[in-house]
Symmetry: C2
Subunit: 149 residues, 2 copies
């Protein structure tokens, strides 16, 4: 039940872009450095996100990536689905035909409820929400507003 690094890295990268939305294209290597991700690996993830219409790229010198839409119009569910596939706990929910056991399988209702709960959380959060959270964290650490337990 874990996300792979694709989802984690990819999301961190688009949050990074969201944080700089409106500032023109951001080169991939700066994102990779800030987020501590292998540049070439991140490139593959960005390629998927570009084909899916989450980001746009500008080639050549002074080029880079930027969000294709404002941060408040991109949900986390969208980003994760592109990189990890449908947000479901079992395959039989993802495919149309379902599984052969569907008429006798009591667990299917459970998996459906789980999928809905996951979709609810990820679909109701946008990149703008995470940017805001980021800024809150930064403000706190800047104000010395940290609790050392």
């Amino acid at each position: 039940m874990r996300l792979s690094t694709k989802g984690q890295y990819g999301l961190r990268a688009v949050v990074d872009l969201a944080d700089r939305y409106g500032q023109g294209p951001i080169p991939l290597n700066t994102v990779a450095q800030r987020e501590e991700i292998s540049e070439h690996y991140l490139e593959q993830l960005m390629s998927q996100l570009r084909k899916a219409g989450i980001v746009v790229s500008i080639r050549g010198a002074q080029g880079g990536y930027q969000l294709a839409r404002p941060p408040e119009e991109i949900t986390i569910a969208e980003v994760i689905e592109i990189l990890e596939g449908p947000i479901v706990p079992v395959d039989c929910l993802a495919s149309d035909d379902g599984c052969s056991r569907s008429t006798i399988c009591a667990t299917q209702g459970l998996w459906k409820r789980l999928a809905d709960a996951m979709q609810e959380v990820l679909g109701s959060t946008t990149l703008a929400d995470l940017v805001e959270e980021n800024q809150r964290i930064r403000r706190q650490s800047q104000d010395g507003y940290m609790y050392y337990i």
Copy 2:
């Protein structure tokens, strides 16, 4: 974000046992046949569930497995955690120390909310609930109460 077959098979197997709770030990091969799971593979899963105190085994002829507790006292979350590890979307929530980025990582709050949502669904459903669902399904198909779309 998918369960492996361990979680799916293991859960199906304990639901099968829950369905026959109080009828004495059930040999593994009958469970494996009913649930269409490789017997040797299921054996490994049952071994984990036994060590974790979900099922008890009785060796020798006429032996088998049965639930260690009544179905209404075993949650799905328990079973899945034994077979798949902690129910969290990212590793840094599972370990105590967390990750090095925790103070600057906006996504951590999101993953926490996702983990809570998943735990809520799986922790509030018991084996008894799934047995009931099973019986409902059986009743319906028996009564010809099926919708062919």
